[in-house]
């Protein structure tokens, strides 16, 4: 062993050598026992590396640590007596830490230890016992049911989906003015829960609902991660949520004593949008609660001083020139004004917050996901009479394509379906904590509950086609799964344009949803058309439907003519002549010619014919 080595071991303190020691294991033991006796801070970790023959002591921050129950002489130090004392609140967790019953190990120290996964497994050699087997997973994984039956890649996905789920994100959501908030109408506790889920009290702010799911295709409408929903369920509030959006505006002060003012802008204001826009504002220029608003309606009327200082002050003492700076409901949005708040900033300027609410009923294109990284987009909402139904008349809320399962290795999803079904018919919450039971044992247990209630033990049932009324040839697996509605909803993303705004400089169409923009026909798309040889289609996309401009080119010199407003004719700047040819060019090219011209370089276009 190490002590027999004739060279001394280095001792590292937070990565720096602080000395050498002849008997490293004794040092490590000493530090460890001092820590367990409470002589040293419990945040110190010490380990000995046989390969490096070095002791490393770590006291710095940023190490991932985990509690373990200490085992000595083949016996866990956390005895039933102590557990009883904790239950009676005689002692608490800190007592365990201080008295060397539980200690935190970091990844480095853990390497020196032999950790038993369960009490039954402990031998003389073991040094520690896991608090629970499931604690080998982290919190995020442990809040999902049956994580030991799912693949790692899906866990990474479900961690993302959990963040995107709509639910009861805060119980005071009514008092909050988050810039965007999504609140589920009827959030439910999951039928299949886990210890970690309960421990962090997720059931107090749930983010999903228990869906009755059948593994079935539906006329190809749930191919490739599409899902089919039951219209009856949707009409009864399945997945329904409220979307809140807050508009904020402030009466800013500017250098020179000028400031913004909340009011309905006068028609003389620069950028006045027309009377109809401001029609819903009350006298103070702010919209009233419970007012129905739609795209383009003013919410917070505001006038601001002109952007550039003009010398028209004192010109007869007339009305001050102002600019309209009203906050308007953005394109594609509708809703009801939920709440209006007046407040003040730290700089003592007035702030107005207007919260708009609108109901989001699940529709085609909305995204849902189970707690197994199984996401899907609604492709069809079927009337209940056309949905498949069971002998008892149960109609599934959601039809999941069976092809979603085998390639993704999310068997936890199937297990949750079975457990959810058993929990629903048995009237209990089912525990889906990782490794709490072996898979086959779980299936047996759920099967017993199902059989007791007159269901098939593996969750299969004969389903009847809602359209023909005939039973399907094969029985279908169905159950109850906890589904999250994710905040990616079409109603917030949909955008169309055929004609519309163009950029000032280039006369090309604008880009982006907020500007009612077009989709970019980019370089690679251009290459595709060239590659196909469709020259006229390419010209149409890039010229006729973009920045076509007709310019007049002087027949004599090839420069672009301009319009003389006094003589009311076109004039060539060079020859002063007036014989021109009309030429179609892209406006961007005209800008290029102008810019070259601004450098005092003459360009001329030589035209054929």
């Amino acid at each position: 062993m190490a002590d027999e080595k004739n060279t001394k071991a280095y001792v590292y303190m937070n990565g720096r050598v602080v000395g050498t020691v002849a008997k490293p294991l004794e040092l490590v033991e000493e530090i460890r026992s001092a820590r367990r006796r409470g002589m040293l801070s419990g945040e110190i970790n010490v380990s000995y590396s046989d390969g490096l023959n070095a002791v490393s002591i770590n006291t710095d921050r940023g190490r991932i640590r985990k509690p373990y129950i200490i085992v000595e002489n083949g016996k866990a130090k956390l005895t039933n007596d102590i557990i009883e004392k904790i239950k009676s609140k005689e002692i608490n967790f800190n007592y365990l830490l201080r008295n060397g019953i539980v200690e935190y190990l970091d990844a480095e120290e853990e390497e020196n230890m032999l950790v038993a996964l369960s009490e039954a497994e402990i031998t003389e050699k073991h040094t520690h016992l896991e608090v629970d087997i499931s604690s080998i997973f982290g919190f995020t994984v442990n809040t999902s049911p049956y994580p030991e039956h799912n693949s790692l890649a899906r866990h990474a996905m479900l961690a993302n989906f959990a963040k995107q789920a709509q639910g009861l994100y805060a119980t005071n959501f009514n008092q909050r003015f988050d810039s965007r908030a999504y609140v589920l109408f009827y959030p439910q506790k999951p039928v299949v829960s886990t210890v970690a889920y309960d421990t962090v009290r997720m059931q107090n702010h749930p983010s999903g609902q228990n869906f009755v799911v059948a593994l079935s295709t539906y006329y190809g409408y749930n191919m490739a991660d599409a899902i089919v929903l039951n219209r009856a369920a949707v009409d009864r509030g399945l997945g329904r949520s409220m979307f809140y959006k807050t508009y904020v505006d402030e009466e800013r002060r500017y250098p020179g004593g000028q400031r913004d003012k909340f009011k309905i802008p006068p028609p003389t204001a620069d950028g006045y949008m027309g009377e109809h826009v401001y029609s819903k504002l009350s006298e103070d220029g702010i919209i009233e609660p419970e007012m129905e608003v739609s795209e383009g309606d003013a919410l917070i009327g505001k006038v601001a001083p002109p952007r550039f200082l003009e010398e028209n002050l004192g010109a007869g003492g007339l009305e001050e020139k102002v600019r309209d700076d009203t906050a308007v409901l953005k394109t594609g949005e509708t809703g009801v004004v939920d709440s209006v708040v007046f407040t003040e900033s730290t700089g003592a300027t007035k702030i107005v917050k207007v919260r708009i609410r609108s109901i989001r009923i699940p529709e085609n294109g909305d995204k849902f996901a189970s707690r197994h990284g199984q996401k899907g987009v609604v492709a069809l909402i079927v009337p209940p009479e056309d949905m498949p139904f069971t002998e008892q008349g149960i109609v599934p809320d959601l039809l999941l394509n069976p092809h979603s399962i085998p390639t993704r290795l999310t068997f936890g999803h199937l297990l949750e379906m079975l457990a959810g079904k058993a929990g629903s018919v048995g009237g209990t919450v089912v525990d889906g904590t990782a490794f709490a039971e072996a898979g086959p044992d779980r299936i047996d247990a759920y099967g017993k509950i199902l059989e007791a209630q007159g269901f098939e033990r593996y969750g299969n049932e004969i389903l009847y086609d809602g359209i023909t009324g005939m039973p399907f040839k094969s029985s279908l697996f169905n159950g109850v799964v906890y589904y999250n509605r994710l905040y990616h909803m079409v109603s917030n993303k949909i955008q169309v344009r055929s004609r519309g705004k163009v950029q000032i400089l280039t006369h090309q169409p604008t880009e982006g949803k907020a500007r009612q923009g077009a989709l970019r026909f980019g370089e690679m798309e251009r290459d595709a058309l060239i590659g196909y040889g469709a020259s006229l289609l390419l010209k149409e996309r890039l010229l006729d439907q973009s920045d076509k401009a007709v310019v007049l080119v002087c027949k004599d010199c090839g420069s672009l003519g301009y319009y003389d407003h006094i003589k009311k004719t076109m004039v060539c700047p060079l020859t002063k002549g007036s014989s021109f040819v009309e030429v179609e060019i892209s406006y961007a090219f005209k800008v290029l010619l102008d810019e070259i011209k601004s450098l005092h370089i003459m360009t001329s276009l030589k035209l054929n014919e």
């Binding site: 590659g531 469709a534 920045d547 090219f589």
Partner: protein, 347 residues
């Protein structure tokens, strides 16, 4: 007759072959691993592969990052492993620094003693006497073989001269071909013949050694091929290297696309890259060049020299908004229907 004419070409007139070639290479190229991991092993000559190699070829880098020469041997030698191994000694680039354990300068006596490593000498098939002779012959110095090395008598006590000579001696080529690198013997599994692979690209030097099959020996250094064999060979080398690299990555691209790239890069008579210093930078059209890289440089040059853009390419026509002279835009109406009566003989 019509059938015969149709077989003259395989691609329709006006087909944008360049764009199609670019797309055909570019799309599967996205699947290539950026820096392909090297296979672990003792192989000393691992050529660059994957995307870095494609970039190297297409940019026409003067020196490949990993030059490799495949040296094929004459019939008599190639069948026999021992004889093939002997060829290594003629090719392997051995410098004095590879052989010497240390070099001791005696400034007071004006002598340099080079202590040679016996094992190294043996493995390269050299003797101390030979090394001394080589120093005398190549450097014109007075070198005496001793028991464990060579003593060079400088006949001077100039410090600078002694130090410089020592450095020169250490860099001296003792045996093999300059720039040939270290070679290894490999066996062709199909023919059972042995050939050599060296991590250098001095193909000119290697070709001068007896026992080499000059018709088969080749290198992955396109410029070495160009210097020795000319532009046609360089084109072939380029095409072969592109094909080989893609094949290694199990990417199937029709070889005609790659041939076209190799043709375009060598059409001028020298090997040119496709970037701004090569094909794209030498386009006829001012606008096409300005639209790519270094916009200002090309516009300023055009202004200073009064260049005219003939508007015959694709890029410049898209820029101004004209129909492109490619595909359906490559044909023009020769005569209007109304004007036909003027040309047609009256009935």
């Amino acid at each position: 007759m019509a059938e015969k004419n149709n077989k003259k070409y395989f691609v329709e007139y006006g087909e944008p072959v360049g764009i199609i070639a670019a797309q055909s290479v570019g799309e599967p190229g996205t699947q290539m691993i950026l820096r392909s991991f090297h296979l672990a092993g003792i192989e000393s000559t691992v050529a660059t592969s994957g995307l870095p190699r494609i970039i190297e070829l297409v940019d026409a880098k003067k020196k490949p990052s990993t030059p490799v020469t495949y040296i094929y041997l004459d019939q008599k030698i190639s069948k026999n492993f021992d004889r093939a191994s002997e060829m290594l000694k003629k090719i392997n680039e051995v410098r004095m620094s590879n052989l010497a354990r240390r070099a001791l300068e005696n400034f007071s006596k004006g002598k340099i003693k080079i202590v040679l490593d016996k094992q190294e000498l043996e493995s390269e098939g050299l003797t101390i006497r030979q090394v001394a002779a080589r120093i005398e012959k190549d450097m014109g110095l007075d070198a005496q073989p001793v028991e464990n090395g060579v003593i060079v008598n400088m006949h001077t006590r100039n410090l600078k001269e002694i130090r410089n000579t020592k450095i020169a001696i250490m860099k001296m080529l003792v045996s093999g071909v300059d720039g040939a690198g270290k070679a290894t013997v490999r066996r062709d599994d199909d023919t059972g013949e042995f050939y050599l692979v060296s991590a250098g690209s001095n193909i000119e030097g290697i070709m001068q050694i007896d026992g080499i099959d000059k018709s088969k020996t080749t290198t992955n250094d396109v410029f070495a091929v160009y210097r020795l064999f000319g532009i046609e060979a360089a084109r072939n080398s380029l095409a072969v290297e592109l094909k080989k690299t893609l094949k290694e990555q199990k990417i199937s691209v029709d070889e005609r696309h790659l041939n076209l790239i190799a043709d375009a890069m060598t059409a001028s008579g020298s090997v040119k890259g496709v970037g701004r210093h090569g094909l794209s930078g030498e386009k006829r059209s001012v606008f096409a060049r300005a639209a790519y890289e270094e916009t200002l440089k090309h516009l300023v040059h055009a202004a200073a020299f009064g260049e005219t853009d003939k508007m015959r390419g694709v890029t410049e026509n898209i820029l101004v908004g004209k129909q492109i002279p490619i595909g359906t835009g490559s044909v023009k109406l020769a005569i209007k229907k109304e004007d036909m009566s003027k040309v047609m003989p009256k009935k």
